[in-house]
Symmetry: C2
Subunit: 470 residues, 2 copies
């Protein structure tokens, strides 16, 4: 089956209406479910995915061409993630409350008893990504964080893995039904038009998206131009700059170059945290140390095409030259490294927005510390920034601080690919990395995107939500 | 001086450019300031405002026509609020951090050391409100929460109190300079065009607004249509419904009606939390118990005009009739009460979006519990909802739960006006109450609107921000 034929499939208007009506109807009973009930539901989803591992991984392999080990690991991550949200519901850490008792002596005048909890924002529309068929797709981070918050979830399937999407949705739906979750808690829809209709329907109260800047921007524009605008949490694009300090270069330059290539070409470079730009003190020596592997097959023909276009655009920018090229893989594309002097980047910061989704990197040669600082000052928002430092390296500390002004996660002496799911994770950043710079789409803090605070003033204990009782 | 002549004053383009350049330049040193330094700055602002109390209250009285006691109280609240943010910086509660130590046995694969803190989002543009010349204006909640977060602040003065705005800004600027805050930490600009230019300037990274749905929507649209969209936190409109249960009505109906009028006409009804809609089991008896006072002077002629238009529109809706009208005040307008059967509201929920900013209320008569539930289901987003209950009143508990689906704060047996500033406060709600339903514009949690999380991965202790060190 060709993924691009499948992409033409659209959920019919009547079916979409049923999905939206059911999601709307499920919102109230879900909002009234207990944290333990939601944890049960997420654990049931986790068990169902684990139980269908062989079927799901095989389907994912057929549709995405990603290697089995990678897909096994990604499914493990996805199951773990659902369980982590369940654990946070059970221990209360994902349901923040705050109690201010009445205070007649409060400095601005007597204060009533005031207690704040969170309620689910309502039905959430999730746009699945192509490059993580499990972890950022049907049962991925957006879906489980929204379910944990108590929101019905409607997922727009990515056309790159339609059969996997349906199979995953079947597992999720059956698992939720088995633990008694309200009908309408979860549904899958397909097609661009159906998803746009859903995004602008008043019953959808928020949206999550993982994908390109162009696609994300178009959907963001729809969400915010509704008569009743809604939050749109889009994780878009990033070149994830890596800085190699002169001291790190002197200490272990060739090792850093080899490791960079490993991170850059991992999974044919199809990661939003792919380190597409590296800043080094000696671009010529760095690129000479680069040995590019043959890339594996890419996710689908659209990504191959996009990679060609993006690398052509990169190559045509002032000062950019091709510095290394590997052997072509099964899709006819090769890993590529370009180089450019820092001064050309400062003159044309647009270079730092040219994400070539795939195995291509840009080596920026800086000739002085000020040259490096000027590039960092011109950085658009990024998901991550990394610094490779020597043992005693004051410049690296300064660089980490400068990167923190533009990125969501700063990495020390390591690579940005491989994003752990935990409480302290922050996967986000200023535009164009995301549409929502104060939130994260990975880690348990992602739940806050779907939680709306509500304060209760002057309530008798019996009338308070349980979590707000003394 | 006529406020409307003053409204024509526009900050000149060159001056605006200087303000934006200075705010941009201040962002980095402010971001690197310690929490104690920011607390010092806020306390200096508080002292300066307190020190200029006589001058500021007199100016506010001249320009807003609000009574002195109200203005004294509002200034007290504003000073208190600045000090509350300072206290939260000193005790660390406003700077959330999270540390995940490295864990080789983490369920999805080895976890690196990961530590999350918050950084300021960058220069913030604040649109001051007309109705709170201190608490939601130049040195109000948006400004002090953004300063607490470490963001430079540019305030767009409200034309309703231009001299007060300048006088307040002088106090703030001098206080900040005296404690050594970076130049550019704070500035005032004037005029619609200047503020639109600022809102779409790449150096402004977020905005806060308090005002009307129409004005807020226009600015929201500008903020989200930038090439680099930014968060726009607008606190817009609300009719703040109040439900009187049959049991409460039977117990103390006339007292509730009298108290409602008190809250409705407080400050000539010029509060965003004004309880504009009350749902009662017997509309005729309720309106018969209403005794409307003569309203005091309104803030400015534009508000008088808007009130006339809004009450005319309300009066023309199907099923709405005039139920009570008081004696006209100095602006020629009278307090007014309309009534409408619940069925007409359900058929025309638009009625629940017709905020008449001023001393006007709508009494909705419900004839059964289901009738009441149908109105609550049709509610657009609100800042607050209140329920008046008897001692043992299961319906009131249910109503509180239904209100929580649509509002930011639910009030029990009290009125929504008078919003305390504390940790548990939530002043927000779904559209059209705000553009930003997961945040608050009052209370210390307001700081999170201006904080961007950043995670540090694998850092040696010496290179970590202080607050993330073990």
């Amino acid at each position: 089956m060709d993924a691009h034929q499948e992409a033409a499939h659209e959920t019919a208007p009547d079916d979409l209406e049923s999905v939206l009506a059911a999601a709307h109807a499920a919102a109230r009973p879900l909002a009234r479910s207990t944290p333990a009930e939601r944890a049960d539901a997420l654990e049931a989803v986790a068990r169902a995915l684990e139980g269908a591992r062989a079927e799901l991984v095989a389907l994912a392999g057929e549709e995405t061409h990603l290697p089995q080990a990678r897909l096994e690991g990604e499914l493990t991550r996805t199951v773990f993630q659902a369980r982590l949200f369940a654990a946070g519901l059970r221990d209360g850490s994902l349901l923040p409350t705050r109690i201010d008792h009445a205070d007649p002596d409060w400095g601005m005048g007597p204060r009533p008893d005031l207690r704040r909890t969170v309620v689910p924002i309502g039905p959430v529309l999730v746009f699945a990504a192509s490059n993580f068929p499990f972890a950022f797709s049907v049962a991925g981070g957006d879906s489980v964080s929204a379910l944990a918050a108590g929101c019905p979830v409607v997922v727009k399937a990515h056309p790159g893995h339609p059969r996997l999407s349906l199979a995953t949705a079947r597992q999720v739906t059956a698992a939720l039904a088995a633990v008694g979750a309200p009908e309408g808690t979860f549904a899958l829809v397909e097609g661009v038009e159906a998803s746009k209709t859903a995004l602008t329907d008043r019953r959808i109260r928020a949206a999550g998206f993982t994908g390109s800047v162009r696609g994300g921007r178009a959907l963001f524009d729809l969400a915010v131009s509704r008569p009743d605008p809604i939050p749109f949490h889009g994780e878009l694009g990033s070149v994830n700059p890596v800085v190699v300090t002169p001291a790190a270069w002197a200490e272990r330059g060739a090792d850093v170059a080899a490791a960079w290539v490993g991170s850059l070409t991992l999974g044919a470079g199809q990661f939003c945290t792919n380190p597409g730009v590296v800043l080094v003190p000696d671009a010529e020596a760095f690129t000479a140390a680069v040995d590019l592997p043959v890339p594996g097959p890419m996710l689908h023909p659209g990504i191959v095409e996009g990679f060609r276009t993006a690398t052509d655009e990169l190559a045509s920018q002032p000062g950019v030259r091709s510095a290394a090229s590997g052997e072509a893989g099964p899709d006819g594309i090769a890993a590529q490294v370009f180089s450019v002097p820092a001064a050309d980047v400062v003159a044309n910061p647009h270079l730092l927005e040219l994400e070539a989704f795939g195995p291509a990197g840009l080596v920026v040669g800086y000739s002085s510390e000020d040259d490096l600082r000027a590039v960092l000052d011109a950085l658009p928002g990024q998901l991550t920034g990394s610094v490779h430092a020597a043992a005693d390296d004051p410049l690296a500390v300064e660089v980490a601080g400068l990167l923190a002004e533009h990125v969501g996660r700063v990495v020390w002496n390591d690579w940005p690919t491989g994003v752990t799911v935990s409480s302290a994770q922050q996967h986000g950043g200023p535009w164009p990395a995301t549409t929502s710079p104060t939130t994260t789409s990975v880690g348990t803090a992602a739940i806050s995107r779907w939680q709306r605070p509500v304060a209760f003033q002057g309530f008798p204990t019996a009338a308070l939500p349980d979590e707000l009782k003394d």
